[in-house]
Symmetry: C2
DNA sequence: GTAAATTTGCAACAATGATGCGAAAATTTA
DNA sequence: TAAATTTTCGCATCATTGTTGCAAATTTAC
């Protein structure tokens, strides 16, 4: 059984063309993908709405996660830890390359704790670092 | 001379109705504002395009700055340090309250440095913390 | 106060995202 | 494996958000 099928079944999602193709895209890409990237790379074989709904279903099942960016674009990424073990992933730092504008999950870099002013209770923290990635250096 | 006028003149912006009103909104609000907030609070006295362009001009002059959020919305905030002294503001942490969903600049909390994997060169880092703010606790 | 420069508002457009619904798939059942 | 059931797909439609060009109005400079 192919890897994509396994992942879908494990997450109780029916195996359809769009889900297979899009999941494969995530497995092949080393960075995060925006909706537009996916539409381009699938060669317009799927309806825009289908892509949205496919991504939604992946997010709901916790297979992919969203990455906040400085500009107003949503990016999705598959976390290595997630798809292999299914366990809750640590809160890791995301890196966006200013050169190739690729978004990369730094799975091994955890978001540091910060001391907040009195009265503020933290629940969750996100950190995004911009700079030059290892490929563009 | 009113405070808003001063700020505008200091930043070489002509003093117009929309700029005055929107600047006043920022001075009054203790949190960050989204475009939609501004449209609501100005009571639709200005065209949508004018609001966009006003915000753009403020960003260009460095009077306000953008805050990234987990959802896909741009928020703008006036930094106390900025508008008083005009000097380049430190990279501070932003806090978003899960209760009142207000976005607050923690001007005194600087974004910590993180150790990146080999090959990655950081240039800029953003940190957004979610949780409960001092007013909602 | 008038000329020059800037800003505004309107119209139009593009991109992104959501929803309802019948048709087409995938899954389950027998 | 074929029928029944459930899920998903694709189309049409709509809402929101943001941009651009241009003429009219406003602001600034002289």
């Amino acid at each position: 059984m192919k890897q994509v099928e396994e992942i879908l079944k494990k997450n109780h999602l029916s195996v359809t063309g769009s889900r297979q193709k899009i999941m494969q895209l995530f497995l092949n890409s080393n960075g995060a993908l925006a909706h537009a990237d996916i539409e381009k790379k699938t060669g317009e074989s799927f309806d825009r709405v289908t892509v949205y709904r496919t991504l939604q279903s992946f997010v709901e099942k916790g297979i992919i996660h969203l990455i906040p960016t400085r500009d107003n674009s949503i990016k999705y990424a598959l976390c290595k830890d997630d798809c292999e073990a299914g366990h809750h992933h640590d809160n890791h730092v995301h890196f966006i390359c200013d050169e190739c504008s690729k978004t990369i999950c730094l799975d091994d870099v955890t978001v540091p704790q910060v001391k907040l002013p009195k009265g503020f209770t933290p629940q969750h923290a996100e950190m995004v670092v911009n700079g030059i990635c290892e490929e563009c250096k």
